[in-house]
């Protein structure tokens, strides 16, 4: 078959969602081609050897949200997926103290009690409450959002289903659920805890990938979104993939190939061919034309609808909505090749605290000030940093004795204030990150062999993430569920017949979940049955 230039489905983009999408379609008997612009697969879930001997998870660096049903269906472990546990979060404080939460319940309880007995008790309660919330939201992650504006019974049933589930909760859970959907992370946490550093470091997961501060309403939901992590059934567990995040994409790609998917890298799309309202195929940058019955795009709406398709093929108000869709990337990444381990003032020497996440989020005010800088077009002078040292858990990513330090940094607003550009600010940004960490681990400067700085502009240029948003669009309330990516088009279909969306810009949003790709595949199959 190879060589023949017509397919059932062409998937644009070989990110994790595109690959999941392709795998599911191929397993249903479709002839699928995946076209990836870069030389490596995985999109933002990739591993690259930037410094000889050091394998960086260049963008996405931890995994937790990957849907269990996908791991099962695609039998990913057999294709080489191995998730290594990431134990706990270590938060150094400016006072020389620290907060160290681990997966061991007793230890964490004692540690929090060291800061506040009340909070130690509340922490257990909080965990239970969040689990209840997750039980409510989880099924929503695996469901195609309803269209609340139609009277179509199937859609109404979904709304009824949601209503029933909500009714089913105890009024205590309802209370929490409503708050989670509407409150700011800090306001929500304020109700549970008194220890500032605890609230600060917990609220951090409420802002990741958004252009919001820990005090902005709506961030409590994102908090939950990151709380839903699950690895081998272990609740709220985060981990690394052995061999770096790229290993996840490779496992999925392997499963896809086994199912018969053809994957081409370094094949950039120039255009999506549309004839009388139907998507027919794609034109590659090199001019080749490839035809297919269905085009499934895993890239974001801005690329799909304003770059690859001529406006004439799209309804005006749809385009309006697409242009209105908010990206506003707010984070960057700094990866370092290290000669030795960083040495933290508050807990000197190597130790288990370096094996988990290390969070620079010492105080709520610190987090909020970091956001204030961004609001006016500056990267945070003292940013929130979430770092991991995967080489401690997975020696394969660095030469013996050496280490990889992977730093997620927020805020790094895509739109800098007039007069500044990321091309000129890039270095200063990298240095700010190093300086910030050095305040807690002074030896860092001396042990850096090389560092790679990834700005929001890089994310856009190199990974095709518009405005450098890691979730293909902000995870803000007005861009979730049946409003994602744009009102009326939340069911993976588009105004162009036979053209579908399957990326993070669709429900349920960003993170290495794969749910988007899977749900889109199921919708595509539903339609093709209808057609057949």
């Amino acid at each position: 078959m190879a060589g023949s230039n017509t397919y059932d489905v062409i998937v644009i983009g070989g990110g994790h969602n595109g690959l999941v999408n392709a795998a599911y379609l191929a397993r249903a008997g479709k002839k699928v081609l995946v076209l990836e612009r870069r030389h490596v697969l995985g999109g933002a879930a990739c591993t690259e050897e930037i410094v000889p001997g050091f394998k960086f998870s260049v963008c996405s660096y931890v995994v937790s949200l990957l849907r269990p049903e996908i791991i099962r269906d695609l039998d990913l472990p057999r294709h080489g997926l191995e998730i290594l546990p990431l134990d706990g979060t270590f938060t150094p404080m400016t006072t020389g103290d620290y907060l160290w939460r681990v997966n061991d319940h007793g230890k964490t309880h004692r540690e929090i009690a060291r800061h506040s007995r009340v909070d130690a008790e509340a922490y257990d309660e909080f965990g239970k409450a969040m689990q209840a919330m997750c039980r409510f939201v989880k099924p929503i992650l695996s469901m195609v959002p309803p269209d609340p504006t139609t009277l179509n019974p199937r859609e109404l049933m979904k709304l009824v289903f949601l209503g029933k589930r909500f009714q089913g909760m105890s009024s205590y859970d309802k209370y929490n659920q409503v708050q989670l959907m509407t409150m700011s992370a800090v306001d929500f946490l304020d109700q549970w805890f008194e220890t500032d550093v605890l609230k600060a470091t917990m609220s951090a997961s409420g802002i990741i990938g958004t252009f919001l501060g820990v005090r902005s309403p709506g961030t409590a939901y994102v908090l939950l979104h990151h709380y839903m992590g699950e690895i081998d059934g272990a609740f709220r567990a985060w981990g690394f993939a052995r061999g770096g995040t790229g290993a996840i994409s490779n496992a999925i790609a392997d499963a896809a190939r086994e199912a018969g998917v053809e994957i081409r890298t370094q094949s950039a799309i120039a255009q999506i061919i549309v004839k009388d309202g139907k998507a027919k195929g794609v034109v590659l940058a090199n001019g080749d034309e490839i035809y297919a019955n269905v085009i499934s795009s895993s890239v974001d709406p801005r690329l799909t609808f304003t770059k690859f398709i001529e406006a004439q093929h799209l309804p005006g108000d749809f385009l309006e909505e697409v242009n209105r869709y908010k990206f506003r990337g707010s984070s960057g990444k700094v990866n370092m090749a290290l000669d030795a381990l960083p040495n933290f003032k508050c807990m000197p020497g190597p130790g288990a605290h370096l094996r988990g996440a290390i969070s620079i989020s010492p105080a709520v005010e610190y987090m909020e000030k970091a956001y204030d800088d961004a609001k006016y077009g500056n990267f945070s002078r003292r940013p929130y940093i979430d770092m991991v040292i995967p080489s401690l858990t997975d020696p394969s990513v660095a030469p013996p004795g050496k280490h990889v330090l992977s730093c997620f940094v927020q805020y790094a607003p895509y739109k800098l204030r007039p007069g500044l550009s990321w091309d000129t600010e890039k270095e200063a940004f990298g240095n700010t990150v190093v300086d910030t960490i050095s305040e807690y681990a002074p030896n860092l400067k001396d042990i850096i062999i090389e560092k790679q700085v990834v700005t929001p502009l890089d994310l856009e240029r190199e990974w095709g993430l518009s405005e450098g948003n890691i979730f293909q669009g902000e995870l803000s309330l007005e861009q979730l569920f049946f409003l994602r990516p744009v009102p009326g088009w939340a069911q993976y279909r588009t105004p162009v017949k036979n053209l579908y969306m399957c990326g993070s810009c669709t429900h349920p949003g960003g993170g290495i979940m794969g749910a988007n790709g899977r749900l889109a595949a199921l919708e595509i199959l539903k339609d093709s049955k209808g057609a057949a």
Partner: protein, 526 residues
């Protein structure tokens, strides 16, 4: 033997008076107990300087719900609304002024001088706002449904609201869904490119709240406001005699209907026996028994201060303690020896008759908000000033004027003590205004400065929150004040709430009072 009444209402604010009226009209004999010497709560007019009278706190009239004005026949009781042609005059530091009129087309023409695009979009924005706000108004006028066991009535009103939403049509329906949780700055930016226009629209979404224009959910505040008044920047409604005249008219209407009102009667405790309110205790030691006690005071004051929390479940108390109400508004009233000269207006007096808006760009408003997050009042505040003596000369001696100014942000939780910063606050306000009206300082005969502290101490607004609790996504509708307790009832039998801390809250509309009366009547008649 203490006096026996059928209904006692704690607090003679506008909502308390509205509730009193409707109960009296239904044949009850409500007794309104007001702590201060005059009724009105936050809607009062005082002579703060010999010959100078001014709306002490609220200076705009709501807008009061028209049906309430009708039912209470407030005009007959002396209410005279004043609606100047210019609704808002927004000033820009570059010496320009933007006049927004009551009339959309006239406003559009004015905006055209700044941006043709914005002018074209203005009326479209007002139309969408009108359509959507009609639906919201419907929801606001009905008591929120009981989430746990909706009654047939609830289902019916939900159905009605649902139908109204459907009738919006797909486009506006999605707008409603999408706008609610948005930041008002984003909403304004979707329509307008001129910063001044964006700012004056956004201001409505943050006034009185602990939100900045970039805070998610501020768009909903705008929509709630728009429900009573779809003017994109808010129209200007004043009352002859100041805001106090509204509550005076309400009081007289309530009395005429058979309610009794006692001023200088401070309730210090709500008496509760086996889970039911039995009456109130006054500071004088006098006890008044009642079949039902209705509180116009805010939820925290009512249930955590006036009531012994031992009558409430720990869970409820904890939730109520988490009900957020951090004031952000201060008030400055000036007695002026003459009319200040605003450079941008070169003598156009008409432009000063509406609300004068200071806060020329989104970032200006957001920065003002930033300072309050860290416990400082804005050094470059967002101001809304009015000169009521222009439209109502009786308020000041011949040729002299009064100026009434809302200042935001003045956080209740201040680093340091409000007493020490009262003067500084006043100076900041005057200096800010002086940038636009340089001769203002020398005209000032006296100023009255009201900090969030004063709002709590003198006017009983917990946390100095003018709306009896933050307007935020999680404290609206069925969640105001608390989820499952949004129906004017409390866990204590025959103790009810009717103040702004209940749905729909927000401003001088009388909505809470009217909704509460309806619910309470259903109960009492059982």
């Amino acid at each position: 033997m203490p006096a026996q009444r059928d209904v006692v209402i704690i607090g003679g604010g506008h909502n308390g008076l509205v509730t009193a009226f409707f109960l009296a009209k239904a044949g009850f004999k409500p007794l309104v107990l007001e702590r201060s010497a005059q009724v009105g709560g936050a809607a009062v007019t005082d002579e703060f300087h010999p010959g100078f009278r001014c709306s002490t706190l609220a200076h705009s009239a709501g807008p009061i719900r028209p049906d309430i004005v009708r039912d209470m026949q407030l005009e007959k009781h002396g209410l005279k609304l004043i609606t100047p042609e210019v609704a808002v005059t927004a000033l820009s530091p570059d010496g320009r002024a933007l006049r927004l009129y009551q009339d959309a087309n006239k406003s559009a023409q004015e905006i055209a001088a700044w941006s043709q695009k914005d002018a074209a979009k203005y009326s479209g924005f007002q139309q969408s706002l009108t359509k959507i706000s009609k639906v919201i108004a419907e929801a606001l006028a009905t008591p929120p449904p009981d989430i746990d066991h909706p009654s047939s009535g609830d289902l019916w009103s939900m159905l009605k609201t649902g139908r109204a939403i459907r009738n919006l049509g797909k486009k506006d329906m999605f707008r409603l869904l999408r706008w609610g949780p948005m930041a008002v700055a984003d909403l304004a930016a979707e329509y307008f490119e001129t910063e001044l226009v964006r700012a004056v629209v956004a201001a409505r979404g943050v006034f009185g709240t602990f939100l900045g224009p970039w805070s998610a959910g501020s768009a909903l505040v705008l929509l709630i406001r728009a429900a009573g008044d779809p003017h994109p920047a808010g129209s200007a409604h004043f009352v002859a005699g100041g805001a106090g005249a509204i509550t005076q008219a309400m009081a007289s209407a309530a009395k005429a209907a058979g309610a009794e009102i006692r001023t200088s009667a401070e309730v210090i405790e709500i008496r509760v026996q086996n889970g039911a309110a039995t009456g109130v205790l006054l500071s004088t030691g006098e006890e008044i028994h009642a079949k039902a006690v209705i509180s116009n005071a805010d939820p925290k004051r009512t249930l955590l201060k006036l009531t012994d929390p031992m009558h409430l479940s720990p869970d409820f108390v904890q939730k109520l303690q988490h009900y957020r109400g951090n004031g952000t508004v201060a008030k400055v009233n000036l007695a002026l020896s003459g009319l200040p000269k605003f450079v941008a207006l070169n003598g156009d007096g008409a432009a000063l008759k509406g609300r004068i808006h200071i806060g020329h760009e989104i970032d200006y408003l957001e920065r003002a908000f930033d300072e309050s997050k860290y416990g400082n009042f804005s050094r470059q505040p967002y101001l809304e000033a009015t000169i009521p003596s222009l439209t109502d000369p009786a308020l000041a001696p011949e040729g002299k004027h009064v100026m009434s100014i809302y200042m935001q942000y003045a956080p209740y939780k201040l680093k340091g003590d409000w007493e020490d910063q009262r003067k500084a606050l006043g100076q900041t306000v005057v200096q800010t205004l002086a940038q636009y009206a340089p001769n203002l300082p020398e005209l000032i005969l006296t100023h009255q400065i009201i900090t969030p502290r004063d709002l709590e101490d003198k006017y009983g607004l917990t946390g100095g929150q003018i709306f009896h609790g933050d307007l935020a996504l999680d404290q609206f509708f069925t969640m105001r004040p608390l989820l499952d307790w949004a129906r004017y009832k409390t866990p204590i039998e025959s103790l009810y709430l009717c103040g702004s801390g209940t749905h729909p809250g927000a401003g001088l509309t009388g909505g809470s009072g009217a909704n509460a009366a309806r619910e309470i009547l259903n109960d009492l008649k059982r």
